[in-house]
């Protein structure tokens, strides 16, 4: 999905098309349908400049109605960074992303512990597996009320937590103040996942890590399984 101000669209396409050799279509925010797609990615960027509130304008784009239908029918949707923010604004995922606790933009490598291998984007992961993937955001501080947080934990919707290289989750490994170190979550069915880190930046050893590939590979795996 390309909204005005999206910029990770080309990076996601690079990961899926150039690295994984799967076909890619750029979908304009004014399109009315996502028919024919197996997987929808809402990439990172500053949609509409993030001038009002991150994702708050993009969620009214015509294409978001189609994305919502697609998600509700069980279609696979991945929101990365700004895409995660848009999914929350569109109520496809719970919670909110506040300004980083440091009040600064942060671009750096972090470690993520995979908490759930049931989501469509972590099928190929071991629970507890540690991934090295960068973040790049100013507003990724995950927030939800206590009740929602408990429900997320209970339903196994917490997919990724910020952790140390050895997998330990602590305050020191939390780059932005996210409650319970949450870096990514899914909806109850596990077909919609949003995360702040950028897996598309970690798909080649040349760029420092290929740990991000597992998200895209899992999705391809999930789609093949459905087809069978």
């Amino acid at each position: 999905m390309v909204f005005p101000g999206t910029w990770s669209d080309r990076d996601c396409a690079h990961a899926v098309l150039d690295v994984l050799r799967e076909p890619v279509r750029f979908v304009d925010h004014r399109e009315q349908t996502v028919d024919g797609l197996d997987l929808v990615i809402l990439p990172g960027g500053f949609s509409y400049g993030d001038y009002l509130r991150c994702g708050a304008i993009a969620r009214f784009a015509p294409v978001m109605e189609a994305v919502t239908d697609f998600a509700n029918r069980g279609g696979l949707v991945l929101g990365i960074c700004n895409g995660f923010q848009i999914l929350q604004e569109a109520r496809l995922l719970p919670g909110a992303l506040l300004r980083n606790a440091s009040c600064e933009f942060r671009c750096e490598w972090v470690h993520l512990r995979v908490e759930q291998s049931n989501s469509a984007f972590t099928l190929d992961c071991r629970p507890g597996q540690v991934l090295r993937i960068p973040i790049s955001h100013g507003e990724g501080n995950f927030f939800a009320d206590a009740e929602t947080l408990d429900a997320l934990e209970r339903n196994g919707q917490v997919v990724f937590r910020y952790c140390a290289a050895d997998g330990r989750v602590s305050e020191a490994s939390n780059p932005n103040g996210s409650l319970r170190n949450i870096a990514g979550i899914s909806n109850t069915h596990g077909n919609v996942v949003g995360l702040m880190p950028h897996p598309e930046r970690a798909c080649e050893p040349l760029l420092g890590s290929e740990d991000g590939l597992v998200l895209f590979r899992s999705a391809i795996h999930a789609l093949t399984r459905v087809a069978v």
Binding site: G5, D50, E104, C107, L207
Partner: protein, 722 residues
């Protein structure tokens, strides 16, 4: 001849009486107010280069791979595979001194537009910054604002900020230096020049509406500042990176269309400069209907519209039959385009308002007619180096040095910049040079900016040469071969003979160094009058350099890689301490002769490096620069997370010079033990001196009986917060 204009009006546009008379001679009559404003803007130092133009002629600008030298929006160099790298560095010092966030942000915006106006997709940004000490409120305000502005703009736009440098010095307390460099890529056949060479073509103004912001910005950047400069805040523009992103995508798409003649960004002196430059480059004229320009507010005069520096605007020149397809592109990106004029065959710029001709000027006079100024130059006498006491506690000195503002880790700054977007960053910020993949190839581009202001202050000629040599060394340390240079010359008020002397010597050093290394200068910018209440900045030439690595798999990192590797110092250490960070730490006066460059030795060293890296002999390489050898060794240890055991460093120089001297032409390298003979042979062949330093390993930096510091303590000092 009496001057038919009052002094105050001339002062407002920073013209002198002699220049006014030249205008009257060129147009055969007295200019009206609008015309005076237009001349003032284009004949300003910022646009007209009237003080520096004669000096800049000595710079080497040609080379076998140069596709576009200075004079366009940016320079362009062939990198093979049908691709060109497009780049330029530019200053935004004056606006940043008044409003640091927006000043820096719009500096980034301006340089991005220069690159995408050439049809190139911006792939990297770098920033060279100089501030006063952070112990004052103003120092902190400027620093935080500038860093925030750079991140705010670049992050939102989606171009990675991959490098740059940062110095603190008392001399920048009033006037910070904010230079932004942008690098882009384009296919040769789509490299665009902003030249409107066809009469009858349609001129479209695209992007933001025109407001009253930035009026006289070019003029403001061409005069010294004083306590009333804050009143110039309205001359600082406000950036909108989101709009710029749309504008960039639209221009890149437009660049693929037939019938698009020229794309030109509106920067300093706004519409006046952009319109006249593109018409003049094509040896044509231009008619502008000012009523067609969309505005942000009512009641704007023709003067306001012609001189506004509102950001995120581009001029697009298209054949009449291509206007519809161009408009489709703008509509797709929801951009607004006004048809504001036509290219003519008159060689004049004619501006109409409500049907009446309000300005009618010959382009040749506007663009090329500025009388060049030839100020007097004097040269400061070099004083002997001070006599300093011998070093007593090297370990404490090393810790203090690595924690000092000029040497400590820049991570707190660059982690607020997105340095990875676009998926090409192979080596990010924090090392000698950044290394980016050229998308779709196995090639890499190495990028750096350099300029040690203390060396230049001591000797503008030698100091500027050192900046070029160091930039090239930084590039070579990654394994890439330097291919071309851009530069930004930041100086004080050139009407003062000492300042003009600095400028003159610096440009001579730049020219000689680039010739010696056979590097063409393809773009650049001059920022003079960096003066407040008679305090001038130290002379600050900044060299931006691009290098090409043909095979990314051969790249060389800067940190120690494997325990047991043998560490060597390449190059010769001399008794050179003047201008060093060590002497600054000791509070020594800035006197003496700075480290000098032997270009013969430099060429040999760089050839030896490329040969060694090309054969895969080196495990790591790191330039020895600010802080000297021990700092370079400590950095390689910290980058790699591995210690070093060095039995001691002996040589023909004092312990101080061996540890902390900043002799040029030196590089620290590490090699696997079995490849040591190969390295020795290569260095002999290239006539490069080689000194064994020690062995990689352990958790300490260990140098003879003088130094034993754990990496953890070293890291804590290095990561001292700003």
């Amino acid at each position: 001849m009496a001057v038919a204009i009052d002094r105050a009006q001339l002062e407002a546009v920073a013209l002198n009486e002699q220049e006014y008379r030249a205008i009257v001679r060129a147009i055969g009559r007295d200019p009206n107010d609008l015309e005076v404003g237009m001349f003032g803007a284009l004949w300003s130092e910022h646009c007209g280069y009237k003080t520096s133009k004669a000096l800049l002629r000595q710079l080497p600008t040609e080379g076998p791979h140069v596709l576009q030298g200075p004079g366009e929006n940016a320079g362009a160099v062939d990198i093979g595979d049908g691709l060109a790298v497009v780049f330029k560095i530019e200053s935004h010092n004056h606006p940043s001194a008044i409003e640091p966030y927006q000043g820096a942000a719009t500096g980034v915006g301006g340089i991005l537009r220069d690159v995408f106006a050439m049809g190139a997709r911006p792939i990297a940004l770098l920033d060279a910054l100089r501030f006063g000490p952070l112990d004052s409120g103003r120092g902190r305000h400027l620093f935080a604002g500038v860093v925030g502005g750079i991140g705010g703009y670049g992050n939102c736009f989606g171009c990675p900020t991959v490098g740059g440098e940062l110095y603190f010095d008392e001399g920048y307390a009033d006037n910070p230096v904010v230079n932004a460099m942008c690098v882009g890529l384009v296919r040769h056949d789509r490299l665009r020049r902003a030249s409107a060479d066809r009469a009858g073509d349609v001129v479209l103004l695209v992007g933001a509406d025109t407001g009253r912001d930035g009026i006289h910005g070019a003029t403001f950047a061409s005069v010294e500042m004083n306590e009333r400069s804050a009143e110039r805040r309205p001359a600082v523009q406000v950036g909108n990176p989101f709009l710029e992103k749309l504008l960039c995508e639209a221009c890149l798409r437009l660049n693929e269309l037939e019938g698009v003649t020229a794309i030109q960004d509106l920067g300093a002196a706004g519409l006046t400069s952009a319109a006249s430059e593109l018409a003049h480059r094509g040896r044509r004229g231009i008619d502008i209907d000012i009523d067609r320009v969309s505005r942000r507010e009512q009641g704007m005069s023709a003067y306001d519209v012609m001189l506004s520096e509102s950001q995120e605007r581009m001029l697009i020149v298209v054949r009449p039959d291509a206007e519809a397809s161009a408009r489709e592109v703008f509509d797709h990106f929801e951009l607004h385009a006004d048809r504001i004029g036509t290219i003519t065959g008159t060689g004049r710029m004619r501006v109409r308002e409500r049907g009446a001709l309000v300005a009618d000027l010959p382009l040749k006079a506007l663009i090329d007619g500025v009388p060049l100024r030839t100020p007097t130059a004097t040269f400061a006498e070099q004083r002997p180096a001070p006599v300093m006491p011998a070093i007593e506690e090297p370990e404490a000195i090393l810790l203090d040095l690595i924690a000092s503002p000029n040497l400590r880790s820049r991570r707190p700054i660059y982690r607020t910049y997105d340095h990875q977007v676009q998926d090409n960053t192979v080596i990010g910020p924090g090392f000698d040079a950044a290394l980016l993949r050229v998308p779709g190839t196995n090639k890499g581009l190495a990028l750096t900016t350099d300029g040690n202001p203390r060396y230049v202050a001591l000797d503008p000629y030698e100091g500027t040469q050192a900046a070029v040599a160091e930039a090239a060394r930084n590039i070579v340390c990654t394994g890439a071969r330097p291919i071309a240079v851009t530069n930004c010359l930041n100086f004080g008020n050139p009407e003062r003979p000492l300042i003009f002397g600095q400028l003159q010597e610096s440009v001579r050093g730049l020219a000689d160094a680039c010739r010696a290394l056979e590097l063409p200068i393809v773009s650049g910018n001059v920022s003079l009058y960096n003066e407040t209440s008679e305090r001038n900045i130290p002379p600050t030439p900044v060299v931006g350099m691009v290098g090409l690595l043909d095979d990314l798999s051969l790249r060389c990192p800067a940190g120690f890689q494997e325990d047991g590797d043998i560490v060597f110092l390449l190059g010769e250490t001399r008794e050179e301490l003047a201008g060093s960070e060590y002497w600054r730490l000791l509070g020594a006066p800035l006197e003496g002769r700075p480290p000098t460059v032997s270009f013969e030795a430099e060429r040999r060293l760089q050839a030896a490096m490329l040969d060694s890296i090309g054969r895969g002999v080196l495990r790591c390489a790191h330039d020895v620069s600010d802080g000297g050898l021990l700092i370079a060794l400590a950095e390689s240890a910290l980058y790699g997370g591995r210690g070093l055991r060095c039995p001691g460093i002996v040589g023909p120089v004092s312990r101080e010079a061996a540890y902390f001297g900043e002799s040029q032409g030196r590089i620290v390298v590490s090699v696997a033990p079995r490849r040591v003979p190969e390295l020795q042979k290569l260095m002999t062949t290239h006539h490069v001196p080689l000194q064994t330093i020690g062995v990689v390993g352990g958790d300490d930096l260990h140098v003879g009986s003088d130094i034993r510091i754990s990496l953890e303590i070293l890291r804590q000092a290095w990561e001292t917060a700003f």
